[in-house]
């Protein structure tokens, strides 16, 4: 029904994908007005509308109230859109909050190698994001947020599933070393200097 995972959903990290949001918060979401009024029967297509209207990312605020961001994330976990759809969300770069939403979902559900390969390019997206938490709103940036997703265990009051460290994947030959476009640009500059 309204709160069940879509039929035929794949288990993620060995469990119902919705369980990736811990029980207390999940129940808060099911009880929230936003969930009941705006998330009911959303599909991968109709979810785009509320997602681009988001005005902040974040987990819970005030008296443990879930942000709209978190509600939509749970909805995504519930309907489990195809991988290609998530990539479409991510590529629609006009809509930074849709992109941020897709980024968390990808971090929570994709294979480690894919997580790095798909999310690292976003480290060059320096647009501003509002982050809402207990103490109010503050400013962060897409690159900072993505960096947190890749390096920290808790983001937006979610416990992120463990993923292998980049270094481990590199040693196993599963992942090529990260190329920073900034570093590449700066090295290009150095070469020009030594030549000139």
């Amino acid at each position: 029904m309204a709160n069940t995972t879509v039929r035929g959903a794949q288990a993620i990290h060995g469990q119902n994908p919705q369980f990736l949001v811990e029980t207390v918060i999940r129940n808060r979401i099911y009880e929230s007005a936003y969930w009941k009024e705006h998330c009911f029967a959303l599909t991968a297509e109709s979810l785009i509308d509320p997602a681009i209207k988001l005005r902040a990312i974040g987990g819970v605020y005030g008296n443990q109230k879930p942000t709209e961001f978190l509600c939509l994330l749970l909805k995504l976990l519930q309907i489990q859109p195809e991988k290609e759809i998530l990539l479409e969300y991510l590529q629609a770069d006009e809509f930074k909050y849709l992109r941020a939403l897709a980024a968390v979902y990808i971090r929570m559900t994709f294979r480690a190698v894919d997580v790095y390969e798909i999310l690292e390019p976003l480290l060059k997206d320096y647009r501003k994001l509002r982050y809402r938490d207990q103490s109010g709103y503050y400013l962060t940036y897409m690159d900072e947020f993505v960096d947190q997703l890749l390096n920290e265990e808790r983001v937006c009051d979610l416990i992120l599933p463990r993923i292998s460290k980049r270094a481990v994947l590199e040693e196993n030959g599963e992942l090529a070393p990260r190329q920073s476009r900034l570093l590449a640009a700066m090295e290009g500059k150095d070469e020009e200097k030594t030549r000139g």
Partner: protein, 52 residues
């Protein structure tokens, strides 16, 4: 649930296709296109200017 069935509706959610999602994004995109192009151009220009 029974009353929904009686109305001939199902409680099973329709799954959106990739095409639907693409079309939707393309539609929304068209409305904000110019802003995005300006931004992408900007980034490359700045990176290039680091070399100078």
């Amino acid at each position: 649930r029974a009353h929904l069935r009686a109305l001939g509706q199902t409680t099973r959610l329709e799954r959106s296709t990739l095409e639907q999602v693409r079309a939707k994004i393309a539609f929304l995109r068209a409305q904000t296109k110019e802003a995005s192009e300006a931004k992408a151009f900007d980034f490359d220009k700045r990176l290039a200017s680091i070399r100078d």
